[in-house]
């Protein structure tokens, strides 16, 4: 469904991504793990067109979308939940959700479809329904994360890009959010690319994973393989540190 071929992305002179290639199948949940500054967010921003690639190719359903502007990418059905949630704080929950459907206001049928989608977001996150008139900035971190995901869903995406949805949240809330992601894939067939620092939780949810280090993909494979990999365990799962050190 999505394929990145030899992507190179630059911030000015800084070479942030080096020949990154990855792919996602329809309905897959794939995770990108890696340390701070490895380039995880950059990959998402390159796909969504916020920081376009300096070289290489992004194919979405076999069509090149490499150099398209973010609003065109959204029209293709790719929706991003940005890092740090970035909900529109001075706007109400409802207004935030409406903004997610910004590009869909064209016809009358779409308007009723938008209403249905909003109802679905409220079923996924009942807490958002309770707070629909509240200003987004006055909600807790977890609620804001739910809103950020709900907002992205309002664009009716085929592919959802999530940037560290667990950041700064209580373990119980993270569990709740990950359950919703699982449900989205099962019920709506949404494909998910998940960037996470919480590698343990991410690998548990995902089918496959890529490990990123300083702008390069250094490892890939099914989640269970990565979970068992000694190097991944040591670096990202915080296990067996002692054993490796003693060896």
């Amino acid at each position: 469904m999505l394929r990145l071929k030899n992507i190179n992305t630059y911030y000015g002179k800084v070479h942030a991504l080096r020949n990154v290639s990855l792919h996602l199948g329809e309905g897959e949940i794939v995770t990108l793990i890696g340390a701070n500054g490895a380039g995880k967010t950059t990959i998402l921003n390159t796909i969504s067109g916020v920081t376009p690639a300096g070289g290489g190719e992004v194919l979405f359903r076999k069509e090149p979308v490499t150099t398209l502007a973010p609003d065109r990418i959204v029209k293709y059905g790719i929706s991003q939940v940005p890092e740090g949630r970035q909900v529109f704080k001075p706007l109400s929950v409802e207004d935030n959700l409406e903004l997610g459907a910004y590009l869909r206001y064209k016809s009358r049928e779409e308007k009723s479809a938008i209403k249905r989608d909003m109802a679905q977001v409220f079923t996924l996150f009942p807490r958002l329904f309770e707070r629909r008139r509240q200003l987004a900035g006055t909600m807790s971190g977890g609620e804001q994360q739910m809103l950020a995901i709900g907002r992205a869903l309002m664009a009716n995406p085929k592919l959802l890009l999530l940037d560290e949805p667990s950041m700064g949240l209580a373990p119980l809330v993270v569990q709740e959010i990950f359950r919703v992601l699982e449900r989205l894939r099962r019920e709506n067939g949404v494909t998910i690319l998940l960037v996470e620092q919480n590698a343990k939780a991410a690998l548990k949810l995902a089918d496959r994973g890529y490990v990123l280090e300083t702008g390069k993909i250094i490892m890939e494979g099914p989640s269970f393989e990565l979970t068992e990999n000694a190097e991944v365990k040591r670096a990202y799962l915080g296990k067996d540190k002692k054993e490796i050190w003693e060896r």
Binding site: P82, Q86, P90, L91, D95, E98, L99, Y102, A155
Partner: protein, 319 residues
Amino acid sequence: MKREPFKFLLFAVLVLVAPLAFKGGYLMNVLVFVGINTMLAVALNLLLGYAGQISLGHAGFFGMGAYLSGILTATCGWNPWLAMPLAALAVGILATLIAFPILKLKGHYLAMATLGLGIIIYIVFNETVDLTGGPSGLSGIPNLAVGSLVFDSDIKNYYLVWTFTLAVMLFSVNLAGSRIGRALRAVHDSEVAARVMGVNARLLKVQVFALSAVISSLAGSLYAHTMTFVSPASFGFNFSIELLTMVVIGGLGSVYGSFLGAALLTLLPELLRGAQDYDIVIYGGLLMVMVMFMPGGLVRGIPDLFRRMARLREGAGNA
């Protein structure tokens, strides 16, 4: 949301009957200015309060509207009704061309760039003497007229100007409540997030900048045709700052707030005339107090004040 049409209707009726209370006189002339300034403040508020983009050059667009209208009618002998839209179109095109590079800047840099723009326009008014009359101004600008009705008195101008002002306010209230208004506030809060939602932030900012300039130009044309005389002094840097003050004092992101700010800043100097030399001190002091105690502007501060007073009274009753 359903309260908005009612609010607007109430406001419009107040505007219509206000002259009855004042029975003409000098104050009518001031109220014409309140109308023009309200239009300008609403225009700037669309840019500053909703989209979050500052402009310190709006007096320039206001002046361009006034001068283009003035030159086209007084010098070229055009019909004012034709000159007004043409001036607005020209200003709109210029604003769009300037907006593309300038709105890439943010915060202080955008303030500097728009400040420069305002100053350049001001210098052009002063220096192109053959066209604008330079510092001594341009006179002989005709009044607007519909058939045999010529808008040549304060009361007629009051209704003329306020018709336009009300139209601009109604338009802005609707825009603010629409999907575009939501997108503007989104860009204001987080441009990156707005972009990944599919909002073309750059284009939207340019469009609102141009719209704001066009409304300012219309206000300028109305100014020229009601005053029948324009000179560069009215369109300097000071006036850009005054407009900014109106928007902030009135309340960012509120159309009615812009009216309150414009009304206050236009009426205050008139009311303080009795204080003679101390007027500017009182004026400045009042502004400072208002900014300190009403950070949300008059539109939020005044209801707050009433609430606090009611609570105090309740407290006193209980004691």
